[in-house]
């Protein structure tokens, strides 16, 4: 029996700041999860404000460590491919501490979904620049203004081989639900970036409300990069949201496991033959 919207709430006390973009991601996720096979659903989180989400939803979870969500999620999926695995990570977490894992998860096309809560700032550690903060960002570790350019996670994911690439905005609820649902339905590595203002340390509501627009339709192949780079996480350009890219490719779990379910492996291995071969 599936848990409804209300039963999906755990008893954990919600400690996000009022106005936090994470609320929207929590609500959208619950709504999408209400119709999924919940016993086989596993949420994975890193460390940061985003990660509290898994404590708040009353489903299986692996609350992992900073940067390692894609690796943890990959291991869960390889252990039991019947599980549906969705990872949540912040921008500091997935783009900073653990970028290699994110790139490799995309490269392998492991059948998991990664939702990146991108608020352009480290919230839990009270306000430092992240890999997607704009140049000149004045945080507590760069009071003079960051001298680094942000990178564009969408083109990074495209280059790495992600087979589903999308972006949404926490203040566009319908789009957010649609994108998370489509990402989970996609067979292969699904990347969802959610622009999510940090009300306390980096309030971007005003800018996003002005600049965000819905792609409505997935751009044709030849316009994918153009759409992905319309906004390069700086001050220029409008910000398209929606699904940018989708392709079908064999998944890592299928190719590696070939019907095997390691979690259910029960085998008596006889090593005598192997020893004889070495005698």
């Amino acid at each position: 029996m599936n848990k409804g919207n209300k039963e999906l709430n755990s008893y954990a006390e919600n400690t996000w700041c009022p106005g936090c973009g994470n609320f929207a991601i929590l609500n959208a996720s619950k709504k999408v999860f209400a119709d999924k096979d919940q016993k086989n659903l596993v949420m994975v989180a890193g460390i940061g404000c985003h990660a509290k989400l898994v404590d708040y939803i009353d489903l299986n979870h692996f609350y992992s460590i900073h940067g390692r969500v894609p690796a943890t999620a990959t291991g869960i999926k390889l252990g039991n491919p019947e599980l549906t695995v969705i990872g949540f990570a912040g921008d500091g977490d997935a783009y900073g501490e653990g970028l290699a894992h994110l790139m490799f998860a995309a490269k392998r096309n492991i059948n998991i979904t990664m939702v990146i809560h991108n608020n352009g700032v480290y919230g839990l550690t009270t306000g430092q620049f992240t890999p997607t903060s704009p140049e000149g960002f004045k945080g507590k570790s760069t009071p003079w203004g960051s001298v680094e350019r942000p990178f564009n996670p969408l083109t990074l994911m495209l280059g790495a081989g992600a087979t589903f690439i999308s972006r949404s905005y926490s203040n566009r609820m319908e789009n957010l639900e649609m994108v998370i649902d489509e990402a989970m339905k996609h067979k292969g590595f699904s990347f969802v970036e959610v622009l999510q203002p940090c009300y306390t340390f980096y309030n971007t509501y005003k800018i996003y409300n002005e600049k965000v627009y819905d792609l409505e339709e997935e751009p044709p192949k030849e316009h994918v990069i153009e759409k992905m780079t319309e906004w390069n996480y700086g001050s220029k350009g409008n910000i398209p949201i929606g699904i940018f890219y989708r392709e079908t490719r064999p998944t890592y779990d299928e190719s590696m496991l070939r019907e095997m379910v390691p979690a259910r492996r029960k085998e008596e291995i006889d090593i005598e033959d192997l020893l004889k071969e070495n005698t």
């Binding site: 016993k39 992992s64 291991g75 039991n80 894992h101 490799f104 291995i269 005598e272 070495n278």
Partner: protein, 549 residues
């Protein structure tokens, strides 16, 4: 002769290591017990490689400096090792023009290969043919071994070997038929892999790193036979996180690395402790700090693995000393990890991991232990309070259980908590598992004793026990080898009559000695070696005579 030491030397790319193991296999057919140590630099071509092969009626697990036969495929072998030849020993060398010039049995390996239109690496087959002749090994045995263990271009290799066999002359190293059962020859790494598979390992994750790469290669090559998953991820951090993910799903997993890779895994070790997800980590020690001397042996990571990880938590640590122990104690480590939900570590070293041993499979049996599973009654609590701190397991996919695991301190259900009482309670719950581990290993031999009772007692660990046991036998001394390093065993009954306590280990500061002293055992003298080579039996006998007796 019943105990023969052979050195085969040449350049990297000469096929020295293959030749060495074939030599061991030739003698093994006559009932000899063998031990092969490969000394090779960290490069692909050139340099100087050599392998030491010891064959004996008795089980041997160490080499001697002094050898009875030197097989030289290059000049350097003579320059570096001619002085190590025992009285009455033989030098067998490639007498082709421009190769080696020395006294002994010269056979033109290179010219034979050229004549037969073989590849240059096939000089090692010529050397093998000549070695067989020197030791008067029956040609039929050579054929048998070549067909079984050199499946590529066997006939050509045999033709080359035969020519050298015919050109060489018998030395005074005649092989004897020992009328003992033939044993398989496997490496320490293979033994570790076999132990894990027997204990139910379903997934192996590893990033290549000497000296543990052999486990990865062995398990990958046998993936289908064992019906396991073998994965080589992007780095060691991914290795351990993926392993913990799979274990959370319910799959028994193991990871393997060396000290440097383990350094990267340490955050995952701590996560394993907090989340109580079982994991077994193989750490093959090599000469460190840092990159160190990557293809050479040292036992300098004992305190690193004993103390690694932020926070206080129980762990299980074994340090096997030979292939049989590697097989058995890896199985024990897997079982303890799953029965007690603690991280377990198998601490090996290059000498053991890459050493090749006659393997006596009748010594130990590995059986998979079943973890305590949730009975399905009431609400599932992943971190439920229990008498010994071990909470029953359920895995995601179970329709009656929500399985919440976490790196944060948590309540019994698995939700983050910072409440003082709950924090203290959970810390206690985890520490209680030390007692669960002790109970689990009650019937498992934690310390091995060798030799006669003597006033002076030698403590050793890991692969160093090979040289120690032999040296102590020659000198009439008692040897103790702790294998379970954590929880550290009670040794009082073993040393109640000991006068002097001496430690023998290959590191610069005496890590076993420090562990003994931490456990209240006074150490009188430390015999140390830290030039990244293992102890040799004859060398160790000399040092014990000089320093201890």
């Amino acid at each position: 002769m019943e105990d023969i030491s052979i050195l085969v030397g040449g350049k990297a790319g000469d096929g020295i290591r293959i030749a060495a193991i074939i030599v061991a296999r030739l003698f093994s057919r006559y009932g000899y017990r063998v031990f092969v140590y490969d000394d090779y630099p960290s490069l692909i071509r050139g340099g100087h490689n050599f392998s030491l092969i010891r064959v004996s009626r008795q089980k041997v697990q160490a080499n001697n400096v002094g050898v009875d036969l030197i097989v030289a495929l290059d000049k350097q072998t003579i320059e570096k090792h001619a002085s190590e030849l025992n009285d009455g020993g033989v030098i067998l060398f490639d007498s082709s023009k421009g190769e080696v010039e020395t006294e002994g049995v010269g056979v033109p390996f290179k010219e034979i290969v050229k004549e037969m239109e073989g590849m240059s690496i096939m000089r090692n087959s010529a050397a093998l043919g000549a070695i067989a002749k020197v030791a008067e090994i029956d040609w039929k045995i050579v054929e048998e071994v070549f067909y079984k263990f050199l499946p590529k271009k066997t006939d050509l290799n045999l033709k080359i070997a035969r020519k050298a066999y015919d050109m060489a002359s018998a030395g005074n190293l005649k092989v004897e038929n020992l009328n003992q059962e033939m044993m398989p020859i496997i490496s320490g790494n293979e033994a570790i892999g076999l132990g894990a598979v027997k204990a139910g390992m379903a997934v192996y994750y590893a990033y290549p790193m000497t000296p543990s790469t052999g486990i990865l290669h062995f398990l990958a090559a046998n993936r289908d036979r064992f019906n396991i998953l073998v994965v080589h991820p992007e780095n060691e951090i991914a290795v351990i996180l993926m392993a913990l993910g799979s274990a959370y799903s319910g799959a028994k997993t193991m990871v393997g690395t060396a000290g440097g890779g383990f350094a990267l895994m340490v955050e995952g070790l701590s996560l394993s402790a907090q989340s109580e997800i079982p994991i077994t980590i193989v750490v093959g020690q090599r000469a460190a700090p840092s990159t160190g001397v990557p293809t050479y042996s040292l036992q300098s990571d004992l305190h690193f693995v004993l103390n690694a990880g932020h926070g206080e938590f129980p762990r299980f640590l074994v340090a096997p000393g030979d292939a049989e122990e590697a097989y058995y104690y890896t199985g024990v480590a897997m079982n303890v990890a799953w029965s007690c939900q603690v991280p377990s570590i198998v601490l090996s070293d290059k000498n053991l991991s890459e050493g090749n041993y006659s393997f006596d499979s009748s010594m130990y049996t590995v059986e998979e232990a079943q973890p305590i599973l949730w009975d399905g009654k009431g609400d599932y609590l992943r971190y439920k309070d229990s008498e010994n701190g071990v909470s029953p397991l359920a895995f995601p996919g179970n329709k009656s259980a929500t399985v919440k695991v976490t790196s944060y301190e948590h309540d019994q259900y698995g939700i983050t908590t910072e409440e003082s009482e709950k924090v203290a309670f959970m810390q206690q719950k985890r520490l209680q598992k030390t007692e669960a581990v002790k109970k689990e290993i009650e019937d498992i031999e934690a310390v091995k004793a060798y030799g006669k009772d003597s006033d002076t007692v030698i403590f050793t660990w890991g692969s160093t026990k090979g040289a120690c046991v032999e040296a102590a036998d020659a000198l009439g001394l008692k040897v103790l080898q702790p294998i379970i390093m954590e929880p550290f065993p009670d040794l009082s009954s073993y040393i109640k009559d000991a006068g002097r306590i001496v430690t023998v280990e290959t590191n610069a500061t005496g890590q076993l000695a420090r562990l003994l002293e931490n456990n209240g055992i006074r150490v009188d003298h430390k015999v140390l070696k830290y030039n990244a080579r293992p102890f040799f039996t004859d060398e160790l006998i000399e040092r014990l005579r000089k320093e201890v007796l």
